[in-house]
């Protein structure tokens, strides 16, 4: 029985390691060549979405991004001579983009961890179910054998009358 336990333990460890290796990596922000801050933020938000962020988490980011679009429209509609207001709006855009980027990276990290944990739970559950199934099979077989033996021992031999 000790060898069975050892074998099961070894296989459990192997499955656990495989499950860990299969996990996605944490999403990190990366600068895209000479791309603008806006483009980088869009990329980061899309990465956040693909890392498994919930719709509610994404809604907050999307709302802020649409605020940036409104500010951009305002900036486009301002006359060039209105330099003060233009500078204000531009600064607000940059500030909001920086804030969105930071939040996107934070949400992505959380979402990645959550996804990894979900995967780990799923694969571990598979492993646990396999162990449980094997134990059930083992004791089931024992019971079945006992039942067969009991049945055989309780048999009556009747000889046909001549």
């Amino acid at each position: 029985m000790r060898k069975i336990t050892l074998a099961l333990l070894f296989l459990s460890c192997m499955s656990f390691v495989l499950a860990l290796i299969a996990q996605p990596q944490l999403v990190t922000s990366q600068l895209v060549g000479s791309g603008s801050q806006f483009n980088r933020v869009v990329q980061d938000v899309q990465k956040t979405d693909s890392s498994g962020a919930t719709p509610d988490e994404m809604r907050g980011l999307v709302t802020q991004l649409n605020t940036v679009m409104q500010l951009q429209n305002e900036l486009d509609s301002l006359p060039p001579q209105n330099t003060d207001r233009r500078a204000q709006v531009l600064e607000q855009i940059n500030r909001t983009l920086t804030s969105i980027d930071g939040e996107a990276i934070r949400i992505a990290a959380n979402a990645s961890e959550r996804t990894s944990l979900d995967h780990l739970v799923a694969y571990s559950s598979g492993l646990a179910a396999a162990v449980l199934g094997t134990i059930v099979y083992y004791y089931g077989m024992l019971l079945w054998r006992k039942y067969r033996i009991k049945r055989i021992m309780g048999m009556r031999i009747t000889l046909p009358e001549r």
Partner: protein, 212 residues
């Protein structure tokens, strides 16, 4: 053979079979099956129905008559998208966007609407518009066409040639998306190495006794 070793030999295949079965189940629950990624663009008429696009049921209307439509974009791309709907003014002969080559229409751009749209969500754009004025050149060609869209006035100098006596214009709506690799808008979107586009057009005629 020792009884314990025999038990291991009996149980190992069972355990491995069960492990394989359950891990396949776990894998199936954790992966997202590949599905077609697409965007939808639609226009609805007055009251949000796919009819009643024009006042009095006729695409021929007068200057100053207000028309109420609803544009909609549905995002099924699996990711948040920055979407733009470009509104262009076409006449009878101008080229429409090319579905095969994925090229936009050369018609003049009137305006565009931009928004980020979450996955599995719909972006609804109220589109109130009217022709507020037009001028005619010698020979009956329309020289300047003034449109009001959502309380913004757009004046189109030398619109696609159209005679006031038999003038059929069309509003062309094109769907554009932000491409992070290009760091710019592109017409349509990419799916499975193929560029897809979505566009719509709605015709209108200026009634000959056009001006109020």
């Amino acid at each position: 053979m020792k009884p314990r070793l025999k038990a291991v030999r009996q149980l190992l295949p069972v355990f491995l079979a069960l492990l394989l079965l359950f891990e396949i189940g776990a894998f199936a629950t954790t992966i997202t099956p590949p599905s077609e990624k697409y965007l939808q663009l639609y226009v609805l008429g007055f009251g949000g129905a796919a009819n009643n696009y024009y006042p009095n049921g006729s695409s021929s209307f007068r200057v100053g008559e207000s028309i109420s439509w609803h544009l909609g974009v549905v995002n099924d791309m699996g990711l948040v998208q920055l979407v733009a709907v470009r509104v262009k003014l076409g006449n009878q002969s101008i080229e429409t966007p090319n579905d095969t080559l994925a090229t936009p229409s050369p018609a003049p751009l009137i305006t565009e609407f931009k928004s980020f749209v979450q996955d599995n969500e719909t972006w609804d754009i109220p589109f109130e518009w009217q022709v507020t004025n037009y001028t005619t050149q010698s020979g009956g060609q329309i020289g300047t066409l003034t449109l009001m869209i959502d309380n913004m006035t757009y004046s189109i100098q030398n619109p696609p040639s159209c005679l006031t006596s038999s003038c059929s214009f069309r509003l062309i709506f094109e769907l554009w998306t932000w491409n992070v690799e290009l760091s710019d808008f592109q017409i349509g979107w990419w799916n499975g190495g193929q560029q897809r586009i979505a566009w719509l057009q709605l015709w209108f005629n200026l009634a000959p006794s056009g001006r109020k």
